[in-house]
Symmetry: C2
Subunit: 241 residues, 2 copies
Protein backbone atom coordinates (compact mmCIF):
# COMPACT_ATOMS: atom_id res chain seq x y z
CA UNK A 1 0.00 0.00 0.00
CA UNK A 2 2.86 2.37 -0.72
CA UNK A 3 2.33 5.65 -2.54
CA UNK A 4 4.98 7.12 -4.90
CA UNK A 5 5.58 10.63 -3.55
CA UNK A 6 7.83 13.03 -5.42
CA UNK A 7 7.27 16.24 -3.43
CA UNK A 8 5.65 17.40 -0.21
CA UNK A 9 5.67 21.16 0.33
CA UNK A 10 3.88 23.95 2.10
CA UNK A 11 1.93 25.26 3.83
CA UNK A 12 1.34 27.66 0.98
CA UNK A 13 -1.75 28.78 -0.89
CA UNK A 14 -3.59 26.91 -3.60
CA UNK A 15 -2.80 28.85 -6.75
CA UNK A 16 -5.58 27.59 -9.00
CA UNK A 17 -9.21 26.69 -9.48
CA UNK A 18 -12.16 26.41 -7.16
CA UNK A 19 -10.25 26.93 -3.92
CA UNK A 20 -7.79 29.48 -5.27
CA UNK A 21 -6.06 31.33 -2.44
CA UNK A 22 -6.81 28.63 0.15
CA UNK A 23 -4.11 27.77 2.64
CA UNK A 24 -3.03 24.21 1.99
CA UNK A 25 -0.10 21.81 1.96
CA UNK A 26 0.80 19.85 -1.17
CA UNK A 27 1.57 16.19 -1.77
CA UNK A 28 2.69 15.49 -5.31
CA UNK A 29 2.56 11.91 -6.54
CA UNK A 30 4.77 10.52 -9.31
CA UNK A 31 3.53 9.00 -12.54
CA UNK A 32 1.12 10.09 -15.23
CA UNK A 33 -0.84 8.50 -18.07
CA UNK A 34 -0.49 11.77 -20.00
CA UNK A 35 2.54 13.66 -21.30
CA UNK A 36 1.17 17.17 -21.87
CA UNK A 37 3.47 19.27 -24.01
CA UNK A 38 3.29 22.17 -21.58
CA UNK A 39 3.17 20.16 -18.33
CA UNK A 40 4.60 22.26 -15.49
CA UNK A 41 5.37 19.12 -13.48
CA UNK A 42 6.94 16.93 -16.17
CA UNK A 43 9.51 15.77 -13.62
CA UNK A 44 6.73 13.59 -12.19
CA UNK A 45 6.66 11.43 -15.33
CA UNK A 46 9.60 12.15 -17.68
CA UNK A 47 12.25 10.42 -15.59
CA UNK A 48 14.05 13.63 -14.60
CA UNK A 49 12.72 13.42 -11.04
CA UNK A 50 13.23 9.68 -10.64
CA UNK A 51 15.61 10.03 -7.71
CA UNK A 52 13.16 12.15 -5.77
CA UNK A 53 10.45 9.49 -5.73
CA UNK A 54 9.91 7.93 -2.32
CA UNK A 55 7.53 5.05 -1.72
CA UNK A 56 5.63 6.03 1.42
CA UNK A 57 2.64 4.66 3.27
CA UNK A 58 -0.14 6.89 4.58
CA UNK A 59 1.34 7.17 8.10
CA UNK A 60 4.76 8.12 6.74
CA UNK A 61 3.22 10.81 4.56
CA UNK A 62 1.19 12.11 7.45
CA UNK A 63 4.28 12.33 9.68
CA UNK A 64 6.05 14.32 6.97
CA UNK A 65 3.08 16.68 6.67
CA UNK A 66 3.14 17.28 10.41
CA UNK A 67 6.88 17.81 10.36
CA UNK A 68 6.82 20.55 7.74
CA UNK A 69 3.33 21.92 8.41
CA UNK A 70 3.28 21.85 12.22
CA UNK A 71 -0.17 23.08 13.23
CA UNK A 72 -0.28 25.55 10.36
CA UNK A 73 -2.58 23.66 8.01
CA UNK A 74 -6.02 22.04 7.92
CA UNK A 75 -6.25 21.42 4.18
CA UNK A 76 -4.14 19.04 2.10
CA UNK A 77 -3.92 19.06 -1.70
CA UNK A 78 -2.93 15.95 -3.61
CA UNK A 79 -1.60 16.62 -7.09
CA UNK A 80 0.58 14.87 -9.63
CA UNK A 81 1.30 13.55 -12.11
CA UNK A 82 -2.06 11.91 -12.10
CA UNK A 83 -2.90 10.83 -8.56
CA UNK A 84 -5.90 8.91 -9.92
CA UNK A 85 -3.45 6.22 -11.06
CA UNK A 86 -2.85 5.34 -7.42
CA UNK A 87 -5.52 3.11 -5.89
CA UNK A 88 -3.78 3.05 -2.53
CA UNK A 89 -4.33 6.78 -2.04
CA UNK A 90 -7.52 5.61 -0.32
CA UNK A 91 -5.46 4.88 2.80
CA UNK A 92 -4.03 8.40 2.89
CA UNK A 93 -7.37 10.05 2.19
CA UNK A 94 -9.02 8.02 4.95
CA UNK A 95 -6.29 8.92 7.41
CA UNK A 96 -6.46 12.63 6.55
CA UNK A 97 -10.25 12.66 6.95
CA UNK A 98 -9.98 10.82 10.29
CA UNK A 99 -7.65 13.56 11.45
CA UNK A 100 -10.18 16.20 10.32
CA UNK A 101 -8.24 17.57 7.41
CA UNK A 102 -9.99 18.70 4.26
CA UNK A 103 -8.58 17.19 1.10
CA UNK A 104 -8.29 18.64 -2.39
CA UNK A 105 -7.16 16.67 -5.42
CA UNK A 106 -6.58 17.35 -9.09
CA UNK A 107 -6.75 14.81 -11.92
CA UNK A 108 -7.50 14.94 -15.64
CA UNK A 109 -10.51 12.63 -15.50
CA UNK A 110 -8.96 9.75 -17.41
CA UNK A 111 -9.12 7.16 -14.60
CA UNK A 112 -11.77 6.45 -11.96
CA UNK A 113 -11.05 5.66 -8.34
CA UNK A 114 -13.69 5.03 -5.68
CA UNK A 115 -11.88 7.34 -3.28
CA UNK A 116 -12.75 10.31 -5.52
CA UNK A 117 -16.08 10.72 -3.77
CA UNK A 118 -14.25 11.32 -0.48
CA UNK A 119 -12.40 14.37 -1.78
CA UNK A 120 -13.65 17.75 -0.50
CA UNK A 121 -12.33 19.79 -3.40
CA UNK A 122 -11.97 17.66 -6.50
CA UNK A 123 -10.76 19.32 -9.69
CA UNK A 124 -11.27 17.46 -12.95
CA UNK A 125 -8.94 19.01 -15.46
CA UNK A 126 -9.33 17.57 -18.97
CA UNK A 127 -6.52 18.59 -21.28
CA UNK A 128 -7.19 20.77 -24.37
CA UNK A 129 -5.65 20.24 -27.84
CA UNK A 130 -2.53 22.32 -27.12
CA UNK A 131 -1.45 19.62 -24.66
CA UNK A 132 -1.05 17.13 -27.49
CA UNK A 133 -3.28 14.71 -25.59
CA UNK A 134 -6.61 13.29 -26.71
CA UNK A 135 -9.55 13.26 -24.31
CA UNK A 136 -11.52 10.04 -24.00
CA UNK A 137 -14.88 11.77 -23.67
CA UNK A 138 -16.79 8.57 -22.92
CA UNK A 139 -14.53 7.95 -19.96
CA UNK A 140 -14.72 11.59 -18.83
CA UNK A 141 -18.52 11.50 -19.01
CA UNK A 142 -18.67 8.28 -17.03
CA UNK A 143 -16.45 9.73 -14.34
CA UNK A 144 -18.28 13.04 -14.08
CA UNK A 145 -21.63 11.27 -14.00
CA UNK A 146 -20.48 9.00 -11.21
CA UNK A 147 -19.13 11.96 -9.28
CA UNK A 148 -22.10 14.25 -9.67
CA UNK A 149 -24.52 11.43 -8.90
CA UNK A 150 -22.76 10.51 -5.70
CA UNK A 151 -21.65 13.83 -4.30
CA UNK A 152 -22.79 17.40 -4.08
CA UNK A 153 -21.73 19.50 -7.09
CA UNK A 154 -20.03 21.95 -4.76
CA UNK A 155 -17.23 19.43 -4.26
CA UNK A 156 -16.40 18.92 -7.92
CA UNK A 157 -15.28 21.42 -10.49
CA UNK A 158 -13.88 21.32 -13.99
CA UNK A 159 -10.83 23.32 -14.95
CA UNK A 160 -9.41 23.73 -18.43
CA UNK A 161 -6.08 25.39 -19.09
CA UNK A 162 -6.24 27.69 -22.13
CA UNK A 163 -3.38 28.49 -24.46
CA UNK A 164 -5.23 29.42 -27.66
CA UNK A 165 -8.57 29.65 -29.47
CA UNK A 166 -8.70 25.92 -30.16
CA UNK A 167 -8.37 25.22 -26.46
CA UNK A 168 -11.19 27.65 -25.80
CA UNK A 169 -13.41 25.81 -28.26
CA UNK A 170 -12.56 22.53 -26.54
CA UNK A 171 -13.38 24.09 -23.16
CA UNK A 172 -16.73 25.23 -24.50
CA UNK A 173 -17.59 21.71 -25.57
CA UNK A 174 -16.67 20.31 -22.17
CA UNK A 175 -18.69 23.02 -20.40
CA UNK A 176 -21.72 22.27 -22.58
CA UNK A 177 -21.57 18.59 -21.69
CA UNK A 178 -21.55 19.33 -17.95
CA UNK A 179 -23.29 22.68 -17.52
CA UNK A 180 -24.10 22.09 -13.83
CA UNK A 181 -20.49 21.54 -12.79
CA UNK A 182 -18.65 24.72 -11.72
CA UNK A 183 -16.31 25.58 -14.58
CA UNK A 184 -12.94 27.32 -14.50
CA UNK A 185 -10.81 28.61 -17.34
CA UNK A 186 -7.15 29.02 -16.49
CA UNK A 187 -4.47 30.94 -18.29
CA UNK A 188 -1.73 28.61 -19.55
CA UNK A 189 1.91 29.31 -18.81
CA UNK A 190 3.75 29.19 -22.12
CA UNK A 191 7.19 29.86 -20.80
CA UNK A 192 8.25 27.21 -18.31
CA UNK A 193 11.88 28.24 -18.53
CA UNK A 194 11.62 31.97 -17.90
CA UNK A 195 13.71 32.79 -14.85
CA UNK A 196 12.46 36.35 -14.55
CA UNK A 197 9.42 36.20 -12.27
CA UNK A 198 8.48 39.76 -13.15
CA UNK A 199 8.53 39.24 -16.89
CA UNK A 200 6.59 36.02 -16.53
CA UNK A 201 3.99 37.64 -14.25
CA UNK A 202 3.40 40.49 -16.71
CA UNK A 203 3.12 38.04 -19.59
CA UNK A 204 0.58 35.94 -17.68
CA UNK A 205 -1.45 39.04 -16.84
CA UNK A 206 -1.53 39.89 -20.56
CA UNK A 207 -2.73 36.38 -21.36
CA UNK A 208 -5.38 36.69 -18.64
CA UNK A 209 -6.58 39.89 -20.25
CA UNK A 210 -6.83 38.11 -23.61
CA UNK A 211 -8.80 35.25 -22.06
CA UNK A 212 -11.16 37.64 -20.26
CA UNK A 213 -11.73 39.55 -23.50
CA UNK A 214 -12.82 36.33 -25.21
CA UNK A 215 -15.09 35.22 -22.38
CA UNK A 216 -16.96 38.45 -21.79
CA UNK A 217 -18.38 38.57 -25.33
CA UNK A 218 -19.40 34.92 -25.50
CA UNK A 219 -22.82 33.96 -24.08
CA UNK A 220 -21.75 30.32 -23.89
CA UNK A 221 -19.25 31.33 -21.25
CA UNK A 222 -21.70 33.23 -19.04
CA UNK A 223 -21.24 30.85 -16.13
CA UNK A 224 -17.51 30.33 -16.14
CA UNK A 225 -14.81 31.74 -13.95
CA UNK A 226 -11.51 32.94 -15.40
CA UNK A 227 -8.43 32.70 -13.22
CA UNK A 228 -4.65 32.98 -13.35
CA UNK A 229 -2.25 30.70 -11.47
CA UNK A 230 -1.48 32.73 -8.36
CA UNK A 231 1.63 30.71 -7.52
CA UNK A 232 3.13 31.49 -10.93
CA UNK A 233 2.40 35.20 -10.46
CA UNK A 234 4.09 34.99 -7.08
CA UNK A 235 6.99 32.63 -7.61
CA UNK A 236 7.35 32.17 -11.34
CA UNK A 237 8.56 28.75 -12.40
CA UNK A 238 10.09 27.92 -9.01
CA UNK A 239 9.34 24.42 -7.76
CA UNK A 240 8.06 23.55 -4.29
CA UNK A 241 6.15 26.72 -3.43
CA UNK B 1 -38.29 53.79 -5.48
CA UNK B 2 -35.38 55.33 -7.36
CA UNK B 3 -31.85 54.03 -6.89
CA UNK B 4 -28.81 56.34 -7.10
CA UNK B 5 -26.59 54.74 -9.74
CA UNK B 6 -23.13 56.13 -10.45
CA UNK B 7 -21.75 53.46 -12.82
CA UNK B 8 -22.92 50.45 -14.78
CA UNK B 9 -20.19 48.52 -16.57
CA UNK B 10 -19.30 45.12 -17.96
CA UNK B 11 -19.59 42.31 -18.67
CA UNK B 12 -16.23 41.77 -17.06
CA UNK B 13 -14.93 39.43 -14.37
CA UNK B 14 -15.35 39.81 -10.63
CA UNK B 15 -11.90 40.72 -9.40
CA UNK B 16 -12.28 39.85 -5.73
CA UNK B 17 -13.53 37.54 -3.05
CA UNK B 18 -15.66 34.41 -3.07
CA UNK B 19 -16.58 34.55 -6.75
CA UNK B 20 -13.25 35.83 -8.03
CA UNK B 21 -12.97 35.34 -11.78
CA UNK B 22 -16.72 35.04 -12.31
CA UNK B 23 -18.19 36.71 -15.36
CA UNK B 24 -20.50 39.46 -14.17
CA UNK B 25 -21.79 42.95 -14.87
CA UNK B 26 -21.47 45.74 -12.29
CA UNK B 27 -23.93 48.27 -10.93
CA UNK B 28 -22.31 50.77 -8.61
CA UNK B 29 -24.55 52.78 -6.30
CA UNK B 30 -23.66 56.22 -4.93
CA UNK B 31 -23.40 57.11 -1.27
CA UNK B 32 -21.55 55.63 1.68
CA UNK B 33 -21.68 55.82 5.47
CA UNK B 34 -17.90 55.29 5.54
CA UNK B 35 -15.02 57.33 4.16
CA UNK B 36 -12.18 54.83 4.04
CA UNK B 37 -8.79 56.49 3.64
CA UNK B 38 -7.85 54.11 0.82
CA UNK B 39 -11.28 53.76 -0.82
CA UNK B 40 -10.83 52.93 -4.49
CA UNK B 41 -14.31 54.26 -5.28
CA UNK B 42 -14.25 57.51 -3.33
CA UNK B 43 -16.05 59.20 -6.22
CA UNK B 44 -19.19 57.43 -4.96
CA UNK B 45 -19.22 59.54 -1.78
CA UNK B 46 -16.73 62.44 -1.89
CA UNK B 47 -18.69 64.65 -4.26
CA UNK B 48 -16.27 64.23 -7.18
CA UNK B 49 -18.69 61.94 -9.05
CA UNK B 50 -21.81 63.94 -8.27
CA UNK B 51 -22.63 64.65 -11.90
CA UNK B 52 -22.51 60.97 -12.79
CA UNK B 53 -25.26 59.97 -10.36
CA UNK B 54 -28.52 59.03 -12.07
CA UNK B 55 -31.68 58.22 -10.15
CA UNK B 56 -33.04 55.09 -11.82
CA UNK B 57 -35.78 52.62 -11.06
CA UNK B 58 -35.29 48.86 -11.34
CA UNK B 59 -36.68 48.66 -14.90
CA UNK B 60 -34.44 51.47 -16.11
CA UNK B 61 -31.39 49.78 -14.61
CA UNK B 62 -32.37 46.48 -16.15
CA UNK B 63 -32.75 48.06 -19.60
CA UNK B 64 -29.28 49.55 -19.26
CA UNK B 65 -27.84 46.16 -18.26
CA UNK B 66 -29.41 44.57 -21.33
CA UNK B 67 -28.14 47.38 -23.53
CA UNK B 68 -24.51 47.02 -22.55
CA UNK B 69 -24.51 43.32 -21.64
CA UNK B 70 -26.69 41.92 -24.45
CA UNK B 71 -26.98 38.19 -23.75
CA UNK B 72 -23.42 38.00 -22.45
CA UNK B 73 -24.15 37.88 -18.71
CA UNK B 74 -26.15 35.89 -16.16
CA UNK B 75 -24.64 37.34 -13.01
CA UNK B 76 -24.97 40.91 -11.73
CA UNK B 77 -22.83 42.47 -9.01
CA UNK B 78 -24.08 45.41 -6.98
CA UNK B 79 -21.34 47.44 -5.34
CA UNK B 80 -20.90 50.95 -4.00
CA UNK B 81 -20.40 53.06 -2.03
CA UNK B 82 -22.48 51.09 0.41
CA UNK B 83 -25.48 49.62 -1.41
CA UNK B 84 -26.92 48.57 1.98
CA UNK B 85 -27.95 52.20 2.48
CA UNK B 86 -30.54 51.77 -0.27
CA UNK B 87 -33.73 50.08 0.87
CA UNK B 88 -35.26 50.30 -2.61
CA UNK B 89 -32.63 47.93 -4.04
CA UNK B 90 -35.21 45.28 -3.14
CA UNK B 91 -37.07 46.15 -6.35
CA UNK B 92 -33.97 45.64 -8.49
CA UNK B 93 -32.96 42.43 -6.74
CA UNK B 94 -36.48 41.02 -7.16
CA UNK B 95 -36.52 41.94 -10.84
CA UNK B 96 -33.11 40.36 -11.46
CA UNK B 97 -34.10 37.16 -9.70
CA UNK B 98 -37.35 37.01 -11.67
CA UNK B 99 -35.28 37.21 -14.83
CA UNK B 100 -33.08 34.35 -13.54
CA UNK B 101 -29.96 36.35 -12.94
CA UNK B 102 -27.70 35.55 -10.03
CA UNK B 103 -26.88 38.56 -7.88
CA UNK B 104 -23.73 39.40 -5.96
CA UNK B 105 -23.41 42.32 -3.57
CA UNK B 106 -20.72 43.82 -1.37
CA UNK B 107 -21.25 45.87 1.78
CA UNK B 108 -19.25 46.58 4.93
CA UNK B 109 -21.82 45.18 7.33
CA UNK B 110 -22.78 48.45 8.97
CA UNK B 111 -26.45 48.49 7.89
CA UNK B 112 -29.03 45.70 7.63
CA UNK B 113 -31.51 45.34 4.80
CA UNK B 114 -34.07 42.53 4.48
CA UNK B 115 -33.11 42.03 0.84
CA UNK B 116 -29.68 40.77 1.92
CA UNK B 117 -31.02 37.25 2.29
CA UNK B 118 -31.96 37.26 -1.42
CA UNK B 119 -28.37 37.80 -2.58
CA UNK B 120 -26.62 34.78 -4.10
CA UNK B 121 -23.09 35.96 -3.37
CA UNK B 122 -23.03 38.36 -0.46
CA UNK B 123 -19.69 39.73 0.66
CA UNK B 124 -19.51 41.39 4.07
CA UNK B 125 -16.38 43.48 4.10
CA UNK B 126 -15.68 45.09 7.47
CA UNK B 127 -12.99 47.74 7.30
CA UNK B 128 -9.70 47.32 9.19
CA UNK B 129 -7.87 50.06 11.16
CA UNK B 130 -5.93 51.37 8.13
CA UNK B 131 -9.22 52.59 6.68
CA UNK B 132 -9.58 55.11 9.50
CA UNK B 133 -13.07 53.72 10.18
CA UNK B 134 -14.32 52.12 13.38
CA UNK B 135 -16.29 48.87 13.19
CA UNK B 136 -19.48 48.64 15.22
CA UNK B 137 -18.98 45.02 16.19
CA UNK B 138 -22.40 44.69 17.85
CA UNK B 139 -24.02 45.72 14.59
CA UNK B 140 -21.75 43.47 12.52
CA UNK B 141 -22.53 40.49 14.78
CA UNK B 142 -26.26 41.14 14.57
CA UNK B 143 -26.09 41.27 10.77
CA UNK B 144 -23.95 38.17 10.38
CA UNK B 145 -26.14 36.26 12.82
CA UNK B 146 -29.26 37.24 10.91
CA UNK B 147 -27.65 36.22 7.64
CA UNK B 148 -26.22 32.90 8.73
CA UNK B 149 -29.45 31.99 10.51
CA UNK B 150 -31.55 32.67 7.45
CA UNK B 151 -29.41 31.49 4.58
CA UNK B 152 -26.86 28.85 3.74
CA UNK B 153 -23.31 29.84 4.65
CA UNK B 154 -22.25 29.25 1.08
CA UNK B 155 -23.95 32.48 0.07
CA UNK B 156 -22.18 34.73 2.57
CA UNK B 157 -18.52 35.41 2.97
CA UNK B 158 -16.38 37.87 4.86
CA UNK B 159 -13.57 39.75 3.19
CA UNK B 160 -11.03 41.99 4.87
CA UNK B 161 -8.61 44.16 2.94
CA UNK B 162 -5.12 44.07 4.47
CA UNK B 163 -2.58 46.88 4.35
CA UNK B 164 -0.48 46.12 7.44
CA UNK B 165 -0.01 43.98 10.55
CA UNK B 166 -2.68 45.85 12.49
CA UNK B 167 -5.19 45.07 9.77
CA UNK B 168 -4.20 41.45 9.95
CA UNK B 169 -4.81 41.40 13.71
CA UNK B 170 -8.21 42.97 13.12
CA UNK B 171 -8.99 40.34 10.47
CA UNK B 172 -8.04 37.60 12.90
CA UNK B 173 -10.49 38.94 15.47
CA UNK B 174 -13.28 39.08 12.91
CA UNK B 175 -12.49 35.55 11.70
CA UNK B 176 -12.56 34.26 15.31
CA UNK B 177 -15.99 35.75 15.88
CA UNK B 178 -17.44 34.03 12.79
CA UNK B 179 -15.34 30.92 12.19
CA UNK B 180 -18.02 29.20 10.09
CA UNK B 181 -18.26 31.99 7.52
CA UNK B 182 -15.87 31.62 4.53
CA UNK B 183 -13.12 34.16 5.09
CA UNK B 184 -11.03 36.04 2.53
CA UNK B 185 -7.97 38.21 3.03
CA UNK B 186 -7.33 40.65 0.22
CA UNK B 187 -4.23 42.60 -0.59
CA UNK B 188 -4.84 46.34 -0.29
CA UNK B 189 -3.90 48.69 -3.10
CA UNK B 190 -1.80 51.45 -1.56
CA UNK B 191 -1.24 53.44 -4.69
CA UNK B 192 -4.52 54.60 -6.18
CA UNK B 193 -2.78 57.16 -8.38
CA UNK B 194 -0.17 54.98 -10.08
CA UNK B 195 -0.72 55.19 -13.82
CA UNK B 196 1.71 52.40 -14.66
CA UNK B 197 -0.30 49.19 -14.66
CA UNK B 198 2.85 47.12 -14.77
CA UNK B 199 4.50 48.78 -11.80
CA UNK B 200 1.27 48.55 -9.84
CA UNK B 201 0.79 44.87 -10.70
CA UNK B 202 4.31 43.98 -9.59
CA UNK B 203 3.85 45.94 -6.38
CA UNK B 204 0.57 44.15 -5.64
CA UNK B 205 2.17 40.76 -6.30
CA UNK B 206 4.87 41.67 -3.77
CA UNK B 207 2.22 42.62 -1.24
CA UNK B 208 0.43 39.35 -1.92
CA UNK B 209 3.64 37.47 -1.23
CA UNK B 210 3.98 39.33 2.08
CA UNK B 211 0.40 38.48 3.03
CA UNK B 212 0.83 34.82 2.11
CA UNK B 213 4.05 34.66 4.16
CA UNK B 214 2.15 35.89 7.22
CA UNK B 215 -0.78 33.55 6.76
CA UNK B 216 1.10 30.31 6.16
CA UNK B 217 2.84 30.42 9.55
CA UNK B 218 -0.25 31.33 11.58
CA UNK B 219 -2.53 28.50 12.74
CA UNK B 220 -5.33 30.98 13.35
CA UNK B 221 -5.44 31.55 9.61
CA UNK B 222 -5.64 27.89 8.61
CA UNK B 223 -9.06 28.31 7.04
CA UNK B 224 -8.68 31.56 5.18
CA UNK B 225 -8.18 32.28 1.53
CA UNK B 226 -5.70 34.93 0.38
CA UNK B 227 -6.43 36.74 -2.87
CA UNK B 228 -5.32 39.72 -4.94
CA UNK B 229 -7.69 42.02 -6.84
CA UNK B 230 -7.60 40.57 -10.35
CA UNK B 231 -9.02 43.70 -11.94
CA UNK B 232 -6.20 45.79 -10.49
CA UNK B 233 -3.61 43.33 -11.79
CA UNK B 234 -5.28 43.55 -15.20
CA UNK B 235 -6.26 47.16 -15.52
CA UNK B 236 -4.50 49.06 -12.74
CA UNK B 237 -6.45 51.99 -11.36
CA UNK B 238 -8.64 52.38 -14.44
CA UNK B 239 -12.33 52.92 -13.68
CA UNK B 240 -15.21 51.01 -15.27
CA UNK B 241 -13.50 47.70 -16.05
Amino acid sequence: MKIPVIEIFGPTIQGEGAVIGKKTIFIRTAGCDYQCSWCDSAFTWDGSGKEDITMMNAEEIFRELEKIGLDNFEHVTISGGNPALIKSLSTLIRLLKEKNFKVGLETQGSVWQDWMVEIDDLTISPKPPSSGMKTDFDRLEDILQLLTKRIDNGHVSIKVVIFNDKDLQYAKNVHKKFPAVPFYLQVGNEDLSDESNERLALMLIQKLEWLVSKVVVDPEFNNVRVLPQLHTLLWGNKKGV
